[in-house]
Amino acid sequence: MATTDAKVQPTTGAADGRSPIVNDFSITVATINGAGSQTANNTLLRAIHKMGVPVSGKNIFPSNIQGLPTWFTIRVSKQGYLARSEQAEILVAMNRASIQEDIQKLAAGGICLYPVDEPLPISRDDLTWYPMPVNELVKQSGAETKLKPYVANMVYVGTLAYLLRIDLTEIEAALSYHFGGKQKAVSLNFATVKAAYDWAAEHCVKQDPFRVERMNKTEGTFLIDGNSAAALGAVFGGVQFVAWYPITPSTSIIDNLSEFLPRLRRDADGNATYAIVQAEDELAVIGMVVGAGWAGARSMTATSGPGLSLMSEFAGYAYFTEIPAVIWDVQRMGPSTGLPTRVAQDDILAAYTLGHGDGRHICLIPASVTECYAFGGAALDLAERLQTLVIVLSDLDLGLNLWPTKPFEFPDQPLDRGKVLSAEDLDRLQGAWKRYADVDGDGICYRTLPGTNHPAAAYFTRGTGHNQTADYSERPEDWSANLLRLAKKHDYARRIVPGPVIDPAAGAEVGLISYGTNDLAVQEARDLLNATGLSTAYLRLRALPLEHCLAEFITQHRRLYVVENNLDGQMHALVQLHTPADADRIVSIAKCDGLPLTASWICDSILVQEAKEQI
């Protein structure tokens, strides 16, 4: 045990003589779900971020309100690697139920903080141990019973702050941010942080190499979760109608809309320029959203896998009747209820082809909170421009965890309301318009909205077969002409959806293709691969339908790897379909275990494939 009477600042080196490890490690905080550790964890995260050091946090939590084990991992990385790392070097072991496994998983040379009263089930001689007097300090805090678990978590915040040299003023500032400046809560928590810090200063001899040092790599950025960013994007994107039904992990998009819309979108009399309706199920949700879209409003919902399944009939209907609507699908693990609080990218195929019969949907795939904000508005624009359903494929990791972003930019384009004819337009056209006639050659037709005061404005919207004038038709030529036009519209969409982000590498034979939150792990993996002598180019997809430059990228490289977080290689299948002649050169690197992908797994998986190439 490392407990002594030392009162000095911890030395920078480890007892075993290792050099300092600065701003390059991961912390796992193991707690019991419902014990209020989020405040403590986000406080650490924000404090390190404010010290200018790149940092990310991931809440690996159970589908449970109280009692099951939960983990929060904080990755501190001077290089700016914010993906999950495979192993943590620092463990805060606050949960008896998981402590044995948690200790076993800790990296060699790591450190373990634990409550001093907690009997350790196993020991490892390659770790450094720091017991914390949690109960004693909680008692000293004088906190009332219901606040005690929260205060207990502040003990590890203070101890870590001492051991890692996290600035106490930044901890206090982070607490103040968290509690919205409520001084009583800040004081109670910070007093315990300070007490733990002082206790550690007096009793702990620093015997490990880990520490945080100020940098300037986070200046001009702030932390926000993807669901909040998505909601803000929608608010500034002019959303008018929101219907929803609670489902993890999408609900906080609605929570944020319910906070920001009343604040930002009421007139001087306090009346709303939007409506939010909680529906009885997802069937009703999507019906309301489609009904509002048909009537001319920018409409959206947020859901996750099981909800998306229920929306499938209306999704096909919106495609065929050409009604704008937006669904945010914050992906979690399926099939079925799956693991509702764990991440996956497993709705790619389902979302793209949602509904029966022919038809494909526009999908946007954000990789960062910055893109969540941007796509919040872009999805509404594209839905109205293309008169169709747009599905945004976010995921739990992006939606619920805090990520850095530069301040959000005010949209530089006006809202795109698409091709809508007014009564004046109809006068000009002398009433001669056909709802489903492709006048402009882009497959997108002109629509009118209910309530348009013109005798020729009305048309009959139907999910049944129809001709250009929206009349019922069973004529084979009408059916095929309509579906071909819809396919043409989908092709046109390739030109206006957010294009891929390409990072070429001169002379590289290997091209990596990925999307969404894999981005950070892929970028880090490329550095790891480079270190082994393998140079890679990288294309990050941001939308479906797939865009023309993907085919170019594929022809430019000999071996292609599609990296994704599902078992079936869903995007891999779409990429192969997009370039069938090259299909045998495109390899799936896919995994789904409920956790975000790591750079080392991606790197190792690609090296295994590359080794096969050598043979």
């Binding site: 500034f236 320029t273 309706v277 009904g291 009537a295 301040p407 009305a458 049944t464 019922y472």
Partner: protein
């Protein structure tokens, strides 16, 4: 419902008060079976819209799937229409009317669409009190799939394909009252005079007005013994009252009712329904009385028509949402995007 009178032009007799002829309210030629009750209902809708002088461009027809749901094609051709999914008309109507509260929404559904697959959406729409007229064209049978039993099929009813029904029917009027609907009426496609008066009143009601209309299916459910047949309907219909509707803008119709036997109900827009008592002393504002009546008729195998329940006191969904005065869909873009300063403020709060 909102009255949409704009300008009252005194014109020749062939046009109504907004200058439209009756033909302007027609739809496409019908593809329903000859003699279908839905025909009669379509004609009543045309008559009522014409006589009230409703502006067809302000009407939205919303329907689900089934014979009834196809029928909006056959009336009000100048009105936008959306023929949606089976049982999902209520959700479409909820979205459309919330974002455009000036729309006069007519939902058209059937007994399968509302009572079977769509019962959940039906009841939740009533809970929310979406401002619309909700027509159930009730024939107790699935017509488009050629004769299966629906949730309103009679107990013991025998259908060629459906077999004998062993499951008791749902009474959609009772379901509506229990769900909190403020206007619940029942009528019969074979009684266009009553239906017309009820439909006019429904248009004047603020909130959801449910009209459950027994509409015989001549192809699959018009046999003797079926309570949804013309014969049974004519023999067993028991009107609660004779109904006269007096629109606000028109000169009062001189009723020839005996004083003391007439009850007048003033609707929110000032128009009046006159209910002439035909026997029992019935108060449509009494929810328990309505429920009792429906239970008694179930036992007595009668079917009462008329205005069963009326409560104009509830807020509509659009009212609960505290929306701006203009319909949301008419707001200019600048009202939909907050200012740059608001974004700057939010960026600062997160920093």
């Amino acid at each position: 419902m909102t009255d949409m009178t704009t300008t009252a032009k005194p014109e020749a007799a062939a046009v109504n008060r907004i200058g439209l002829s009756k033909a302007d309210y027609n739809g496409s030629p019908s593809t329903l079976c000859n003699g279908c009750g839905h025909y009669a209902i379509a004609n009543v809708i045309i008559n009522v819209a014409y006589e009230l002088g409703l502006d067809p461009t302000r009407i939205a027809k919303i329907s689900g799937i089934g014979c009834s749901s196809k029928s909006p094609a056959y009336f009000l051709g100048r009105s936008h229409s959306i023929n949606g999914l089976h049982g999902r008309m209520p959700s479409l109507a909820t979205g459309a009317t919330t974002v455009n509260k000036e729309l006069v929404a007519i939902g058209v559904s059937g007994d399968g669409d509302t009572g079977s697959i769509g019962l959940g959406q039906f009841k939740h729409l009533l809970r929310r009190n979406v401002d619309m007229v909700y027509l159930i064209e009730n024939n107790g049978v699935y017509g488009l799939t050629k004769g299966q039993l629906s949730a309103t099929a009679d107990l013991g009813q025998k259908l060629r394909h459906g077999g004998i029904n062993e499951t008791p029917p749902l009474d959609l009027c009772l379901e509506a009252i229990i769900a909190g609907c403020g206007f619940v009426a029942r009528s019969f496609a074979g009684d266009p005079k009553q239906l017309q008066a009820l439909l006019k009143a429904a248009f004047s009601h603020r909130g959801t007005a449910v009209l459950n209309i027994i509409s015989p299916c001549v192809s699959f459910n018009n046999g003797e013994g079926s309570t949804k047949s013309y014969v049974w309907g004519r023999e067993h219909e028991q009107p609660l009252h004779e109904i006269e509707f007096v629109p606000l803008q028109h000169d009062e119709i001189k009723a020839d009712y005996e004083p003391g036997t007439i009850r007048e109900v003033v609707l929110h827009d000032g128009s009046i329904i006159r209910l002439k008592k035909t026997g029992q002393d019935y108060d449509p504002a009494d929810r328990m009385a309505a429920i009792r009546l429906l239970e008694e008729e179930r036992v007595g195998e009668l079917f009462t028509t008329g205005l069963l329940y009326l409560n104009e006191g509830r807020q509509t969904l659009a009212e609960q949402a505290k929306l701006v005065a203009l319909p949301l869909v008419q707001l200019p873009n600048e009202k939909l995007r907050p200012l740059q300063s608001a974004l700057n403020q939010i960026n600062a709060e997160y920093s």
